[in-house]
Symmetry: D2
Subunit: 406 residues, 4 copies
């Protein structure tokens, strides 16, 4: 018996098989990037194997999984550093698909979602800005979308726009003024990357390599888009961003947890066969302690992801809150698992004879991306304080009274 429905378990096993027999043999060597031709082949194979785009509705060529059931499948995908790319469920496209499914108009669906879901184009998400613009603090948004005749004029500079080089379109967050039919706030706009008002600027070289298209600056300079480029309603962008961010950070957790399982398997294999001081390493208590801590990190990560996904699936706001907890815990946990696996492999762990050092560089940024863990912890604490304050206001006794007679 399984905790997930049989159909989910079947898709998980199919994905597992596909990743291990078809994807892993095609992984690039440490330090190299995936060849685009190989990517195309892998995606065709994924479609043939019935594992492509697991999170996307069947009508768009996906497997139609409910978000509550993404985790086991995404973890299998993440077991290879190129698994999510092969399955077309990698960031930032996966989060964009999810948001388009939720709020795009039928025309936008046809023009943007369908080719994206099919893996025919890539996309990016234009949120982060150079300091002191939107970063850890989204309210600092500086890029503007000004209403003009027949459309909007976007101006501003974005930064660290993952996947921008080579993308077909960008979902841009911009600040808008109040108008008759909408409040001041933020607006999301669909912008084709070949719009003459779009210019890709300086590349930022980060230590991770898994995202196609790098992390460049993107400049919007007198960038005109028609009215139907607005995604959802003007002024509602922050709300949509929240709706995008919670699932998107959770799918990051799922994929990286898969990679942590891979690192852990490498460590298990190493300690199975390697002897030290006359014993197999797996029988040495210090190694066992590290292996056990990795299991605990993996299992608690899996559990908190599952719970968060279940809450998101039933539309609970608690799911969005819990996604912060999951993000902090999982990003720290997967870093620790990979770090321990390196340590268990000794000198080889820090060389390109094993992929582990590369994995560490891939996951290190996740403790910062999607909101630095410290920012999430700040939000978690504030939420805990305000929830408790409300309880006390509603009658719960104040429990920290030190002057009460005892």
């Amino acid at each position: 018996m399984n905790l997930f429905p049989d159909a989910v378990e079947e898709l998980r096993l199919r994905t597992r098989e596909f990743i291990r027999t078809t994807v892993i043999p095609n992984e690039p060597a440490p330090g190299e990037r995936l060849n685009p031709a190989v990517r195309t082949e892998l995606r065709a194979a994924a479609k043939a194997a019935g594992v492509f785009a697991p999170h996307v509705a069947k009508e768009f060529g996906g497997q139609g999984l409910d978000i509550a059931h993404w985790s086991p499948v995404f973890q299998e995908a993440g077991y290879s550093i190129i698994g999510a790319v092969a399955l077309n469920c990698m960031a930032p496209d996966e989060g964009n698909m999810h948001m388009l499914e939720l709020i795009a108009t039928p025309a936008q669906v046809e023009r943007y979602l369908r080719p994206l879901a099919a893996g025919e184009v890539r996309s990016c998400f234009g949120m982060t800005e150079p300091h002191p613009g939107a970063g850890s603090d989204p309210d600092a948004l500086r890029t503007t979308a000004r209403k003009v005749a027949g459309g909007w004029m976007i101006d501003g500079e974005k930064r660290f726009i993952s996947g921008a080089a080579g993308a077909g379109f960008c979902i841009v967050m911009a600040r808008n003024d109040a108008e008759d039919d909408h409040l001041a706030g933020a607006t999301m706009l669909l912008v084709d990357m070949d719009n003459p008002g779009v210019r890709i600027g300086r590349e930022i070289h980060a230590i991770d390599r898994a995202i196609d298209g790098g992390h460049p600056h993107v400049h919007f300079e007198g960038c005109f888009v028609p009215d139907d480029a607005v995604l959802g309603k003007p002024g509602e962008g922050f709300r949509y961003a929240q709706a995008r961010l919670a699932p998107a950070r959770l799918t990051h957790c799922m994929r990286w947890l898969g990679l942590a399982r891979r690192a852990h398997d490498i460590a298990l294999d190493r300690t199975e066969r390697r002897e030290l001081f006359g014993s197999p390493m797996r029988e040495l208590g210090i190694a066992q302690n590290m292996l056990a801590e990795s299991v605990i990190d993996i299992e608690t990560s899996d559990a908190i992801i599952t719970k968060t996904a279940a809450l998101l699936a039933i539309g609970e706001r608690a799911g969005s809150s819990l996604s912060s907890v999951a993000k902090v815990h999982v990003s720290d946990a997967v870093f620790r698992v990979i770090d321990r696996s390196i340590q268990l492999c000794g000198g080889d762990g820090v060389t390109d004879r094993l992929p582990l050092a590369g994995y560490l560089n891939e996951v290190r940024p996740f403790r910062i991306y999607d909101g630095a863990n410290e920012t999430h912890k700040w939000a978690i604490a504030r939420r805990a304080s305000s929830n408790r304050r409300r309880e006390v206001e509603q009658g719960e006794p104040y429990r920290a009274d030190v002057d009460a007679p005892r």
Copy 2:
């Protein structure tokens, strides 16, 4: 909407209300123990409130919850240090009830389970022995049960038998020889504590106080019990013990997690109203960091408990394995939450003006009881190694090859 069925959520809310309005006002002062008369009153009130013995079948006066749904209710019980006692779901009785429901004969059910479930008697579990007997290593069991005419003769010394003083009966683990109808192994026997062959020995004073009946030695000296005192089948005791231990350690997690929530609420209340260096403490980042880490500890504990309970409910062996992971993570996490809450309350945290220092002493032993965390980690690592070894034997590639061309 909730992740648990409505009936469970209703019972949780009813329990929450009962604990907060009826139980907490009756808590003993720090360092004191619960008055037996108060305990009797609280149990009567719990029955009246429809919250008594949540884990027990309705035919025995309980609420009939499935193990998959114990956690939210047990956490509410654990919010008070005496909550589980008031609800008759405290250790060791709760674990004994669960095992009796699973394997007792109808006669044993009537004689032992029914009064235990009703809160009319207490019980204990006779497993641990003085060194070098059964402790972290159950195989070292030294107490013997020798088959004699019409019954069994038990001899041996048990130690750290929580709840023994004042208990009505004990479930004793003893080593048996092979006979025609059973293999050599361990046998569980139901022994009335007024059996003349039973003697309560030296008390062991531990830093926790919440268990009635202390942790004494118990001596079995020529202790005869009739054949129908055998619980389940002779020689199967280790298997039953495993079946008892996994849920029992998980319910400990649930109850202590409830207490961690209480400590966290105290810290939230303190930081809400107390000012330091001109700011409310809740706005000081160092305090926020600690509060957030407590939330993360609490939520990951909740999630891993929920997953483990769900696996145990569908009878998966994985549930038993995962209970080790849950035990280690939760026992460490609740200790950290309480420890942080103390720190957030400053000098008051280590005095009896607040109950926190007492809580720390209550939960400290849980990192040792029910199998020391280090023993569990050893078991977790061995299981991880052997699972992975099996995968590789069945065709998974060995992934730690450092001489493969790259």
Copy 3:
């Protein structure tokens, strides 16, 4: 060869011998307090053994150690929970002696320091106040000392005044107004505890037991003291308090580190003889890992104490700053060492069969006393920031420029 001068090493060995052969056999049972008659005997024996009051000048009956050399001797004293009391170098008296040596007038020396150094009276230090008075934030001081004819009138409430019950005198911190010859600020005053204006209030029961005289509130109500009761100069109290606090928190570190060594020895003894799963525990890697981490905690604590003491001895302000670092590191480290030692002793570790659980309760408050570790960390960070800012202002390049061409 030794890192310390031979005379210091000799005193250390003499103290070690005295503690182990004379003091430890007289330790009270767990949960009990030291009998005053035994204390008197032990002090007489300490004088006879030439180990009494190691930190006090020889003219007052001490051993005349320089502060740079206190650590090895205080650690030996701390190896017994009553060692510092036996040697008359326990808090708060030891810190008071040190300050009196530095700033008392000859008359004050005779009246207060000499009997204190001889162990004839005890003393206390009146700094902490009920919220929102002086606590983690000394600037919040509310107790006042008003200049009146011939002396000062003290009014206010102090709290958590360790050792107050039975003390002969108190060094009180009080706020003073500016006068002709002094600025507004804080003043230290020597107040006899039998002054009619002094009243010992409610006791605060903390989880530590090692300090005679408890931690009560002390009320100063129209408490008149003559002019010669002022210690040092009026208005200079905060400066003196700093001078007292840095060494005082460091000697806490020294003594508790000695106790951590005791706990570690207990764990080493346990793992030496106890077998588990067929091996001596000392050969089990998980136990070795814990033992090694305790060694690292002990040795890094020893090293940072030594460095801080050396800086204090040469009068460097850096010593005062570093004492915050030492306090945080050592208080956390000794807690971990004792906690690990408990874990290594299994069930016995949390009972009174071993003294470890008691030790944990003794050292837990040290993470809060003498400035909560979080407050010290806040100060450490601020100091680091301002030191660095000054460097940059003085010409060091700003090193976090992300827009510099690379």
Copy 4:
């Protein structure tokens, strides 16, 4: 006043000035290596500035520092990733110089030490072997040195020989049989890298870049060296290796601690000027907490290094033992400091706009090189156990008796 003699402090300040004004402006961009011509210029400048080879005797062109005083100067060198190279005090040459000073014959001094100290040649140390040869367990040494007429014949394969490519000579560890004048054991031999029996094999690409000459395999195939190539006495190699390793791992600690200070300065600068949520980051408590933890890591590292170096300087065996403690603590601490600094710099921290991500890759291997931290912990625990066992054998009471009456 300073804790170190004035001459040391002067050299430290001179080194500091040289590193900051001359070395840092010549650092290669992230991912690049130091240009050899620049290295030559920097060394000439270092000689001119009187800071070259601080650890080497003045007769060989160094500054003649005692090992007890290396730390402050080496930390200044380590503040730049190329600082130690500029000063000719980088691994593995620095350790080789130190050993040659201790045990080389006058002829060997002239031929090997003098040019090495002058920075005219580089060297390497041939210890590690492919599995199952010498690695974490030096006793597994497989390379042999066979006595032949007029010299020795060396055969074997070495691995991870840092700095081998381009080195002038190698100090090789090889196993020898017993002969009339020496026991079986290990022998150190000086082998010119252009010896026809030496072949550089496959390169191992590790994530660190700071060591010139990479980490290749080196093959010794019928490699003949004359009798005077033996360093010290045949059969004493393991003893010499210990003598080399303790200081060598300690100087690693010193240099990397310098780099941690650089990372910490970057974080301090960033948090000084960057605002978040309307406050300078340095005033945000979560950032302060991280900064304080970095200070604690840095200061405890500094203190344990200082103590270890002082013990090594007086020739105490305890210094060698303590070097294991220092290695584990410092390698973990510097990793944490750099990791925290990255986190404090947000997205920029993981890009090449700042050097931090590169630093993390430089120091990560140090937790494995020079004996994996786990191996050191195993040794630390064994030493602690055997020291304590000896104490108990010599009369100290066994302190873990749980059956003693209390």
